[in-house]
């Protein structure tokens, strides 16, 4: 599904209808009605997205990790309640009659617990859902993991460049080296794993996000990693700068400030109903470090969940408190949360946004005939 398309073509609320006109006619901006924005956000979702957390343990301790402070020190799985999760998905489908279900298995490093991953994938697939898994690909591949990749729809692997760059950027979790028997050369481990997946003709399912630290940015480094990945049969490769660390707050602040030059929309409140499943608990926010987004347990009555979700959204969504965002033409694709919401108290998105650049980017999309056609196709398939 194309998410931007969903907003541009299906929204029934007036302020979205004016999006196109606002961009092209440059009409005077009108502050969106906060109630209308909330109403849109709380409209029956067309997609249920579940972020499934098999574990908050990880074999690595990368300083750029956004959930570094949430990671368990040792190897600890989350207790799953697959039967109750199944009941929850059924309840959600019955209540909202949504057509799409996506499951994103993430962590922690999910492949540390392949049995739990397998349970989640089978459940999502039993509902006809689309299932992805995000991994650092540095857990040695075994038969169980091969089995996982056979039924998985897609997997995102993050790499920070060729060997020297990757190994300079990533670090072991020293508490877990013995348990997981990770090889000392992380990059080589990743490549060896990808070679095994290639032998099984499974690398086509892999999307590699190559993120290189700004001070290490070298075009030759990019050339090298792309060569290696392509030779391994991986076509889906994206290149970007590393997202600096939540752990190193100062660096993170620089990152957010640099967003003024990026026009990068990013908000976990937009587009779909998103629940984070951690053991038997449901959360609204993957980045939540203070248990503030806790919605309820899978063994409780689900009817109260929408009320809690609504309350969480109203209390936490930054744009609802930011008049500049509420008057912005790019709001329908941005939603203003950026990466600051979970890192800073009283985060004001517009202070970090290059609004004109965001609008220019949207104009670029709208002027691209093939993009528009794809959006319409997506919409008709929804």
């Amino acid at each position: 599904m194309n998410q931007i398309g969903t907003f541009l073509w299906t929204d029934g609320i007036n302020f979205f209808d004016t999006l196109h006109k606002k961009i092209y006619n440059k009409r005077p901006r009108k502050v969106y009605d906060k109630m209308a924005v909330t109403k849109k956000l709380l409209a029956p979702p067309k997609t249920l997205q579940l972020s499934l957390i098999p574990t908050w343990s990880c074999n690595l301790r990368c300083p750029h990790c956004f959930v570094l402070k949430k990671l368990n020190k040792n190897l600890t799985p989350e207790e799953t309640q697959i039967e109750n999760l199944e009941k929850f998905i059924k309840w959600h489908q019955d209540k909202y009659t949504h057509k799409k279900l996506t499951g994103l298995i993430i962590g922690g490093e999910p492949l540390l617990f392949p049995d739990i991953c397998m349970e989640y994938i089978k459940l999502i697939k039993s509902f006809g859902g689309f299932c992805t898994l995000t991994t650092n690909m540095s857990v040695p591949i075994n038969d169980k993991i091969i089995e996982i990749y056979n039924i998985l729809d897609q997997s995102q692997v993050s790499i920070d460049g060729p060997e020297e760059v990757h190994n300079k950027t990533r670090f072991f979790n020293l508490n877990m080296i013995d348990e997981v028997k990770t090889k000392p050369n992380l990059f080589v481990q990743v490549i060896e794993n990808l070679k095994i997946l290639k032998k099984h003709n499974l690398t086509k399912k892999i999307h590699v996000a190559v993120s290189i630290r700004k001070d290490l940015e070298q075009k030759k480094a990019v050339a090298e990693i792309k060569l290696i990945l392509r030779a391994l049969g991986i076509e889906n490769i994206t290149i970007g700068h590393i997202a600096e660390s939540a752990y190193y707050n100062k660096t993170q602040q620089q990152k957010i400030t640099s967003m003024r030059e990026m026009a990068k929309p990013c908000c976990s409140f937009r587009y779909m109903r998103h629940f984070v499943v951690q053991g038997n608990k449901l959360y609204a926010d993957y980045f939540d470090r203070k248990e503030a987004s806790f919605l309820g347990s899978l063994d409780q009555n689900f009817e109260k969940l929408p009320i809690k979700y609504e309350a969480h959204l109203k209390q936490n969504m930054p744009i609802l408190k930011d008049k500049t965002c509420l008057s912005c033409s790019a709001l329908p694709i941005c939603w203003g949360q950026c990466v600051g919401h979970t890192l800073f108290d009283n985060f004001v998105p517009s202070e970090f946004c290059n609004q004109q650049q965001m609008i220019d980017k949207m104009r670029g999309f709208l002027e691209n005939p093939s993009y528009i056609e794809n959006l319409k196709k997506d919409e008709s398939n929804t």
């Binding site: 599904m1 194309n2 998410q3 398309g5 997205q49 972020s51 750029h64 990790c65 956004f66 996506t102 994103l104 993430i106 689309f130 992805t132 995000t134 897609q154 995102q156 993050s158 080589v188 490549i191 070679k195 996000a209 993120s211 290189i212 700004k214 070298q218 075009k219 030759k220 990019v222 050339a223 090298e224 792309k226 060569l227 290696i228 392509r230 030779a231 490769i237 994206t238 290149i239 970007g240 700068h241 590393i242 997202a243 990152k255 640099s258 967003m259 990026m262 026009a263 990068k264 929309p265 990013c266 976990s268 587009y271 779909m272 998103h274 993957y286 980045f287 694709i333 980017k361 997506d378």
Partner: protein, 59 residues
């Protein structure tokens, strides 16, 4: 632009034990990509259908 030579590319692939019959093609393909690469810190807006958009932050 720092394009790899055929020899450099072959050496890199050999180092990791990766077999590829079409080294020249691989170099040509990625040379174009690198020229066009934008370091934007993530691809959310460029890949709006990405299913991990919701949480990935482009890292």
């Amino acid at each position: 632009m720092s394009k790899l030579t055929t020899e450099e590319a072959a050496k890199i692939l050999e180092k990791y034990g990766i077999e590829a019959a079409n080294v020249d093609e691989l170099i040509q393909e990625h040379a174009e990509d690198i020229e066009a690469a934008t370091f934007t810190g993530g691809n959310q807006i460029d890949s709006p259908s990405c299913t991990t958009n919701n949480v990935c932050r482009g890292c």
